[in-house]
Amino acid sequence: MSDIPVIHGNSKRERYESLVAALYKDVYRYGLWLCRNQPLAEDLVQETFLRAWRSLDSLQSDKAAKAWLFTILRRENARLYERYRPELVDIEGQAIAESGDNEPDSKMDRELLHNAINRLESDYREPLLLQVIGGFSGKEIAEILELNSNTVMTRLFRARRKLKEEFNLNPDETGD
């Protein structure tokens, strides 16, 4: 289960500000890896929080806040993608630079892994992003993606299997 953000405040404004403080970074990171275009990721996040502000009163439970925001962003991304296919900007340089670990082997590992993640089909990459960035359970991911739990677990399995194969960590028989 994803961490429950602590959303303070009685007024709508206080609740909203608390929501931003608790979740905006994860929402941005998810958006960035989803659309792989930094200006558009910012647009998506702003649109997401605008919608969240407008319908904040409908958020009954703090527990649901993160999944709610990720769902809004995901739908906005799909909508944007249907209308306008932006050029995918390689965020590799940014991702590697942020690690603070510039040892050659580590950097090469990160490059390999970055490329492997980008090569994943979106059906496999999306659940992985939701699990690793969002910290969502299989059930929560299933709700966000509108899939059944078994399908989600299968896709996570396949995502990691592909990453492991590409990353060349003792490839093994895993079966399907």
Binding site: Y24, R29, P39, L113
Partner: protein, 266 residues
């Protein structure tokens, strides 16, 4: 737990803390290795996905949203005054005039009318004629842009909006608009009684003209074109938006982008 099930569980979630998974790992060194490798991989994946820097000003922008929505509710339709610019954005081109081009160019008009009706009206046909004629007045500029002459020239959004204001419109200051390569922006006159603005945007097949004009919106979207250009006339709330590109240009991308970002201020 057999190996297949163990692998399926830990590959799906290397941090699966279910008792039966942990017990299976504890009782089998091979399983322990599998789990360890996957947890190591996941640590690297997590580090990569989660250590991307977040833009410093993003939180501030998000926290400003409530004030912005309140301000919009109080004064809808107001547009923040633009900084005046004295840039000579006519440097590369002349103001367009509504003239029929008489240099041996012949064109046939291709209409895709609305299903079930007789096609565009006579007025819409005439409007299409004017649009295409206007394109040919500017064809030298379009050809120059296509040849890469002005590949580095990008008109800023503030300058674009000064021109757009002539036609009673503005472009939203969104990141999508900021990222778009607008190569030129100028007022133009397709129909004598109405102001219009003509933008040239870098498309995939060449220049894409985006024209907004505050005449009466046409009754429904329709396509225009000839042997060289393909275009579409899109009705909007206070006027029309016309997009024209080279014959194989996919205009849907630009149509949707501008439809989302053009605001009428008249």
């Amino acid at each position: 737990m057999d190996e297949l099930e163990f692998r399926q569980r830990v590959y799906s979630n290397p941090h699966d803390l279910d008792k039966d998974v942990l017990e299976a790992a504890n009782n089998n060194p091979a399983y322990q290795n599998i789990l360890k490798e996957l947890q190591e991989l996941d640590t690297k994946v997590g580090s990569l996905l989660n250590n991307v820097a977040v833009p410093a000003e993003l939180a501030e922008k998000l926290l400003a949203i409530p004030d912005q929505t309140i301000a919009e509710a109080v004064a809808p339709g107001e547009v923040t005054p633009m900084a005046s610019s004295k840039q000579n954005f006519f440097q590369y081109y002349a103001m367009a005039a509504c003239l029929l081009l008489a240099v041996g160019v012949t064109f046939s008009l291709i209409y895709n009318g609305r299903p079930g009706d007789g096609g565009p009206t006579a007025n819409e046909l005439a409007f299409a004629d004017e649009i295409l004629a206007h394109l040919y007045v500017d064809v030298e500029e379009i050809d120059a842009l296509n040849s890469g002459t002005f590949i580095d020239a990008v008109v800023t959004l503030s300058v674009v909006n000064e021109v757009m204001a002539n036609a009673g419109t503005q472009l939203r200051n969104s990141n999508a608009m900021q990222a778009l390569a607008i190569r030129s922006a100028k007022p133009c006159e397709i129909l004598a009684a109405f102001q219009s603005a003509h933008l040239l945007v870098q498309g995939n097949m060449g220049a894409v003209s985006v024209i907004v004009i505050n005449n009466s919106p046409v009754s429904a979207e329709y396509k225009i074109g000839d042997g060289r250009f393909t275009g579409v006339v899109v009705p909007m709330s206070e006027g029309n938006m016309i997009l024209v590109g080279e014959i194989n240009e996919n205009l849907d991308l630009y149509k949707n982008l501008f439809a989302d970002n053009v605001e009428w201020i008249i």
